[in-house]
């Protein structure tokens, strides 16, 4: 009989978790809850004596100072009780650690059927709370249907003797693993079976697949191993590898581009090859610091002679949209495996995040799967737990609110690692599997979780998207594996390593076997969470926290011993060969036998029609707009806009100090509360070398032209790292595209051709700007299906597509961190400079958006002149002539001058007529135009001449001073006051929207 242990805080102690639930329930649903007390429940399905049960209760699971506990339901006052537990098969992290502790205490090993399951009971007080209200709190706040189950009890339902009862969420699959053969008598049959089995095969690929399996030589080889028609294992393997997620078919597609205004046509064969690969390889030839790009899990740049940094970015949009917390934690923990699987492995040193969601206070008619407020909370918490529990600082990130993300949110996660240049005298960034190497799977076990995640990510969100692909990342298990693998690496025990992410073993072994040209896998050896998985499920499961490693046979004993020391499971599941075949067996029976090079050959290229309708043809024009009178209030309103205002509450939830490397923090200034342009870390503690990092998104510009959206996003990322002292000659980029579906369909996607043209133009900008700036794309990712089908008014389903969005992450190396600068103005009397020209470019600006306009004059980058300015600025910073430096980003000069003043806690007085500009005369144009390429710099007056000398011939001007006054003052020509507001009031406005959140 399983035991049921309830644990809760002593009644006189404040229940912070309960209070947070109470606050959210009242905030999200307008309820009138008075209090919530939380009870942790352990359901102990282990054969233990009463004495043993009592000893784990007192010695492990109850803190005598703060908690009470009982094997009978605790008596706690309530009006409603909600019980929430995991569904069978969902990862129960605290359940596993509880088992570990029990094993430790009694020095026993649990039997396979024994386990501990955790769940929670919430005791709600609130006189007006109906059963229905409680059920809503359970369904929409406490539990997620996909991974959890719940029960609601009213006072009448509650039996104080049995409480919530005993529920054992054990997976029971009375199923014998079976390989199914898929008939391929016609394209139609295969396509039908693909649909039925959720294989998501592309119809264009089907003839190629059939032709292969019908080839005489292939048939003969297959007969020799007992196979005929393809098995499900084989088709799953092909489907995974051919998915857009893994194979980037869209980016590698053929685009027939036509400009509808000029009639000019262009055939673009492979965006990846022409806009990403070719420019990056050309830059790599010129820049020796670019160590390894475009082939591995992450790109590698040189930090110094002895150390390389490693960077990559990912999105985890679809899962986060379904289950915000689980999707986000799996996203961040998952992206951390990429640097771990780059070269022979790196240590993680930094994470970054980017969230694009619907407005937090959305009250419109569309009904997204999760309301943006709840979705954002869940995403923030997921990245918090994933990052913090991994011991990796998460110092930088940004949030963007737009209704276009109601259909599908975007969750960007970026990971940076560090590797020694050499391991045991060999290059650390190189790896290969060789015939005879052992295939070892390390980390977690395999379950049904995450099956078909890759193919689901390659589809738009709809009501019947399979929910099974959502999982909960486990940073604890992964941290142990991380520490283990680094030690194994340093002992020279790793020949090849890659992570098991999308596609699971199918991807990791499929890709690593290309080096040796073959593999032999014994699937029955893969350790499972529970019995009953079919062979194909074991092969493609995306169960998390796993790496695939190639180990030389002579290293296996040492590798296994280290694994044991770190309490990490490592299992030998096969060998690499040079047979040219991916060969899989289960209990000696062959279930897959496919040519390794089959996937790299003969598949038809995806083709897209792309039609560009220029903004004028779409009816965009500059609004007829009179400059508003009350410029001071207008600035205050702009500062309080969601995409401008303070989001300190998110930043403070993330550990940005762990590893002791923090140099420039996410929040800076006198009161340490204004966003830094970028963060700087000192990854090698013994060195003064720094790594600067930042990200940028500007999706609104896509309303006018994705070319400029991309150009300006890259420029913002570059300026952010340059502003803190980054070297413009060493900038690494990570492009992360999220776009709606671009294949034209008269009914399903009538503007598909336009969307395809947007993607082409975005990539052209990527190519042009990266080439002009000399930025290699160290890594990148595309996520092509940012659409959702939402119910709206009258329950009508409506398609919501996001604006094409690029998140651009930049890294830069800083040779001496003690020369870094922050953006806060520092002394009264300092001179305020604006660098770079301001143009009449209010199109798609925050200012126009505030008034409901789009406009036409989108900000345009002039990269050739901009880079000269950045070089000069870098010299000024290196020569320590700069007291503060801040880029001018979204919101323009007005907003960013205000931020400089707020951070310094000092007034600023500026004369607009002195701002360097081209065809920008009106005050509001100068103040709010978002022309890229500009900075605000403050300097000690005694540095004036040496500072200005550096900018000879470049657009710059002293526009005012840091005043000793309380006021922020902007004057027009002849000192005509335009804006006059106390700096403290600016900050109050800027903090108003989210200032109360913790």
């Amino acid at each position: 009989m399983p035991a049921h242990l309830e644990i809760t805080l002593k009644p006189d102690l404040f229940d912070a978790e309960g209070a947070a639930i109470c606050r959210k329930a009242n905030d999200y649903f307008g309820f009138d809850l008075e209090s919530v007390r939380t009870v942790s429940i352990l359901t102990i399905d282990i054969d233990l004596t009463p004495d043993q049960l009592e000893s784990i209760r007192t010695e492990i699971f109850t803190n005598p100072v703060t908690q009470i506990s009982s094997y009978k339901p605790l008596s706690i006052d309530f009006d409603s009780v909600i019980w929430v537990g995991y569904r069978p098969g969902v990862r129960d992290n605290p359940g596993s650690t509880a088992q570990e502790a029990v094993e430790d205490l009694f020095r026993i090993r649990l039997k396979p059927h024994e386990a501990i399951y955790t769940s929670k009971r919430y005791c709600l007080k609130g006189v007006n709370l109906s059963f229905h209200d409680a059920d809503r709190i359970a369904r929409e706040l406490l539990a997620n249907d996909i991974i959890q189950q719940w029960k609601v009890f009213s006072k009448e339902d509650w039996d104080p003797e049995t409480g919530v009862g005993i529920i054992i969420p054990k997976v029971r699959l009375d199923h014998k693993p079976t390989v199914t053969v898929i008939p391929i008598d016609s394209d139609k049959t295969l396509m039908r079976l693909s649909k039925e089995r959720g294989l998501a095969l592309n119809p264009n690929d089907v003839p190629t697949i059939r032709a292969y399996f019908l080839r005489e030589d292939v048939l003969a080889e297959r007969r020799a191993v007992g196979l005929s028609d393809p098995t499900d294992v084989e088709l799953e393997y092909i489907s995974q590898a051919r998915s857009d997620h893994c194979n980037h078919n869209t980016f590698k597609g053929l685009f027939l581009y036509r400009d509808l205004a000029t009639g000019k046509t262009d055939t673009v064969d492979d965006l990846f090859a022409t806009c990403i690969e070719a420019p990056t390889l050309a830059i790599q030839k010129k820049k020796p610091w670019v160590i390894s790009v475009l082939w591995d899990n992450a790109g590698v740049g040189r930090l110094n002679e002895d150390n390389y940094y490693v960077i990559t970015g990912e999105t985890h949009n679809s899962p986060s949209n379904m289950e915000a917390y689980g999707g986000a934690i799996t996203g961040i923990v998952g992206v951390y495996r990429d640097p771990m699987g780059t070269g022979k492995g790196s240590r993680l040193i930094m994470g970054m995040y980017g969230y694009c969601v619907g407005p937090r206070d959305y009250q419109g008619e569309l009904k997204p799967h999760l309301h943006p407020k709840r979705l954002l909370d869940g995403v923030i918490e997921g990245v918090r737990d994933g990052g913090n529990k991994s011991g990796i600082p998460t110092p930088y990130g940004q949030v963007w609110f737009d209704e276009g993300y109601l259909g599908k949110c975007l969750v960007f996660v970026t990971a940076i690692g560090l590797m020694p240049a050499q391991i045991k005298g060999g290059p650390a960034e190189k790896k290969r599997s060789s015939p005879g190497n052992l295939i070892v799977m390390c980390g977690g076990r395999v379950g049904k979780d995450g099956i078909h995640g890759v193919t689901a990510a390659s589809e738009s969100f709809s009501a019947d998207t399979p929910a099974g692909h959502v999982q909960i990342g486990d940073p604890y298990t992964q941290k142990k594996m991380h520490d283990f693998l680094l030690e194994a690496r340093d002992h020279g025990l790793i020949a090849f390593i890659t992570d098991n992410g999308g596609g699971g073993l199918s991807s990791s072994i499929g890709e690593s076997a290309r080096f040796s040209n073959g593999c032999m896998v014994e699937l029955e050896k893969v350790p499972l969470k529970y019995e009953g998985l079919d062979q194909w499920e074991i092969w493609v499961s995306e169960s998390q926290e796993r790496m695939t490693v190639a180990v030389k046979p002579e290293h296996w004993a040492q590798f296994a011993a280290l694994s044991k020391k770190h309490a990490v499971e490592s299992t030998l599941i096969g060998r690499y060969t040079d047979s040219g075949k991916l060969h899989i067996t289960y209990d000696g029976q062959t279930c897959a036998h496919v040519d390794i090079d089959f996937l790299t050959s003969q598949f038809p290229q995806w083709t897209f029609e792309a039609e560009w309708t220029p903004p004028e043809m779409r009816g965009l024009s500059e609004p007829d707009f009179v400059e508003p009178d009350n410029a001071s209030n207008l600035l205050l309103d702009l500062l309080a806009r969601p995409n401008i205002c303070s989001k300190e509450w998110i930043i403070r939830q993330y550990d940005h100090e762990v590893q002791g490397t923090s140099v420039v923090k996410p929040l800076v200034g006198k009161d340490r509360d204004v966003n830094s342009d970028a963060v700087v870390s000192r990854p090698v503690l013994e060195s003064l070398q720094g790594l600067a990092a930042a990200q940028a998104v500007l999706p609104t510009y896509s309303l006018i032209d994705t070319y400029h959206m991309v150009a300006c996003s890259i420029d913002e990322g570059v300026r952010r790292v340059v502003a803190v002292g980054g070297d413009p000659e060493h900038i690494g980029g990570v492009d992360n595209f999220c776009c709606p579906y671009i294949q034209y369909d008269a009914i399903g996607n009538p503007d598909g051709k336009y969307k395809a043209a947007q993607l082409v133009r975005a990539n052209w900008a990527l190519r042009d700007v990266c080439t002009a700036y000399g930025i290699p794309l160290l890594s990148g990712k595309d996520s092509m299906y940012v659409d959702g089908y939402l119910k709206g008014r009258h329950n009508k389903t409506q398609k919501v597509s996001a604006l094409p969005t690029l998140q651009f992450a930049c890294t830069s190396v800083i040779s001496d961190i003690t020369r870094c600068v922050t953006m806060d103005c520092k002394f009264a009397g300092d001179l305020v400079y604006v660098l770079g020209e301001t143009r009449n470019e209010l199109g798609a600006s925050e200012y126009y958006e505030h008034f409901g306009h789009v406009g036409l004059h989108v900000p345009e980058l002039r990269p050739e002149s901009a880079i000269k300015l950045y070089r000069a600025l870098n010299r000024a910073i290196q020569e320590e002539l700069v007291a503060s430096c801040h880029g001018i980003y979204r919101g323009g000069l007005g907003v960013h001058l205000a931020l400089v003043a707020m951070a310094g806690g000092l007034g600023i007085r500026v004369d607009l007529s002195k701002v360097p500009r081209v065809e920008a005369e009106q005050d509001h144009v100068i103040l709010y135009s978002e022309t890229p390429g500009r900075f605000i710099v403050t300097i000690d007056p005694k540095n004036r001449s040496s500072f200005e000398a550096l900018f000879d011939g470049l657009p710059h001007a002293c526009v005012g001073t840091v005043s000793g006054e309380a006021d922020f003052e902007i004057n027009g020509p002849e000192e005509k006051p335009v804006i006059r507001v106390p700096v403290s009031e600016l900050k109050t406005a800027w903090k108003r929207p989210f200032g109360d959140l913790v």
């Binding site: 010695e59 100072v65 762990v658 002791g660």
Partner: protein
């Protein structure tokens, strides 16, 4: 002349690793800056006997998320250590050695009962570190007031310092009698304070977690066993401090530059190292 100049004995520091601990690298580094030789040792290496506490002078329970913080921060680390090397830990204390617990390590120490260690009892849990009142994990720099009456060997001469906190479960809690006893014995080593240097009196964010009596760190009655929530090892270089660019600019204008001397965080560790040297 400082004692360390007269006595150049090597001080050996053991920094725990494994099972989700994550401040081991910078803690080991900061102790090296403090003049010690530090070794990161996996918890299982200590349990297996491959490494022995006997070879070390200072044991550090460093920060992290041991066992994912499941079932209470530091709870499962305490269970594992008590079940396996409980005796050796007590012997280590009896031999006059030092133990420092930082953040998750402090949590593990109170769950082991190493703190508060009233009357030489290093087995009984009498204080707890529980969920922050603010309901969330929080990263911020805090001001700490040192207690001149405390016997703590790490904080000798420290009246006020700034260090980062990063935790979700740092609210110090104990019965009023225990709190009274801690105060009376001078075992309250650090209190959260306002930037002006007066106790925060519970005021957020100066007291970031709602700790009773603003308690940020305590020691045992010998002063050799010390635990605190803030992270001295994360202030290992002057550029870790949130105001460094402001301070640097200010000094530059006075014709000075910041001297790269030991930070307040490292000084704390060095006090421990020096204590061993003198002992």
């Amino acid at each position: 002349m400082t004692p360390s100049d007269t006595n150049n004995m090597t001080v050996h520091v053991l920094v725990l690793t494994g099972y989700g601990l994550n401040c081991d690298v910078e803690t080991a580094y900061a102790f090296e800056l403090a003049g010690a030789v530090s070794t990161r040792v996996h918890i299982n290496t200590l349990i297996s006997g491959e490494a022995s506490l006997k070879d070390y002078d200072i044991l550090v329970f460093d920060g992290g998320f041991s066992w994912g913080d499941d079932h209470g921060a530091g709870v499962l680390e305490a269970v594992r250590l008590r079940s396996n090397i409980g005796k050796a830990l007590i012997e280590f204390i009896e031999n006059g050695k030092l133990i420092l617990g930082i953040c998750n390590g402090f949590q593990a120490m109170v769950n082991l009962g190493l703190l508060p260690g009233f009357d030489g009892d290093y087995n009984t849990r009498q204080v707890a570190l529980t969920f922050n009142d603010c309901g969330n994990f929080r990263d911020d720099w805090v001001t700490l007031l040192g207690n001149p009456e405390s016997p703590c060997v790490f904080t000798r001469g420290v009246s006020q310092i700034e260090l980062p906190v990063r935790h979700g479960e740092g609210k110090f809690h104990a019965s009023p009698e225990v709190i009274k006893r801690l105060i009376g014995n001078g075992q309250v080593v650090f209190q959260y304070a306002t930037p002006e240097g007066v106790p925060a009196q519970g005021q957020f964010p100066f007291n970031p977690n709602g700790s009773v009596h603003d308690i940020a760190g305590i020691c045992d009655s010998t002063g050799r066993i010390f635990g605190l929530m803030p992270h001295p090892e994360a202030f290992n270089h002057w550029t870790n401090h949130p105001d460094w660019t402001r301070v640097k600019e200010s000094m530059k204008r006075q014709g000075q530059s910041i001297l790269p001397e030991l930070t307040a965080g490292v000084q704390l560790l060095k006090n421990g190292v020096d204590y061993i040297r003198q002992a």
